[in-house]
């Protein structure tokens, strides 16, 4: 680890939290954190959708637009889409080996997740406030 520079940092401090991927345990940790949150949120989401079955347009809007329903829906969407962005990143890193193809695939993954996330959040907020 001695690069011959005059840095005062110890070799350990340079690699701490980084590891071979240069981003350390952040990805793995965020995967676990979103997983834990998604257990109750998924149950809440499924419950919410079940209560909407067979309802007409105005009833669905009224039910989805309520504070609790909107908050559960938004939390589920944001946490779920964050989780799936991390998951797809792992799949891409496992199967796409060319540097250019991998970079392109990771970009498409990011664009898709941010796009779909924004669209869903916008729709829920519009149902709540418009």
């Amino acid at each position: 680890m001695n690069d011959g520079s005059s840095s005062m940092r110890t070799p350990l401090s340079k690699v701490r939290h980084l590891g071979s991927a240069h981003s350390g345990t952040q990805h793995a940790w965020q995967m676990r954190a979103t997983s834990i949150a998604l257990v109750p949120l998924t149950i809440g989401f499924v419950w919410l959708v079940l209560t909407l079955i067979g309802k007409d347009y105005n009833s669905v809007r009224a039910a989805l637009g309520g504070p609790m329903a909107s908050i559960v829906m938004l939390l589920f969407l944001l946490t779920g889409i964050w989780h799936m962005k991390l998951g797809m990143q792992t799949i891409i890193e496992d199967y796409v080996h060319g540097e250019h193809a991998k970079t392109a695939a990771l970009l498409v993954n990011a664009f898709f997740c941010y796009g779909i996330g924004l669209a869903c959040v916008y729709a829920v907020l519009r149902i709540s406030f418009v």
Partner: protein
Amino acid sequence: MADAGTRPADPQSRRPLSPHLQIYRPMLTMMMSIAHRITGGALYAGTLLLAWWLIAASTDAAAFAKANWFLSSILGRLILFGFTWSLFHHLMGGLRHFLWDAGRGMEHPEREYLAQATWIGGLALTLAVWAAAYAMR
């Protein structure tokens, strides 16, 4: 950019390859691992449907009727059933990962029981939710 000799898929590469899927006898634990990844990918695609439904609900009654027409068609119901199953199967697989993270359930025979619990639990929850859905209709 890696040079040709260091690419694992390159036939010219002299590097040894580790055995891959087709070498192994199919095992339940392996199937559940593959299913976890496939259901994750399916849920990824399924967000398009969820987005369509939410946007339709936020637009107007006509747009919502169109989305509902598709979702309650035979094809729509099949896709929704697949979405529900993917959601619960992936959820069960996630719970299994929590146990592994805690350092448990990796030995024989626990791992076999957990693999069975994953697919049975995922299927049972899916059927329970669909039974509830038809009952509440």
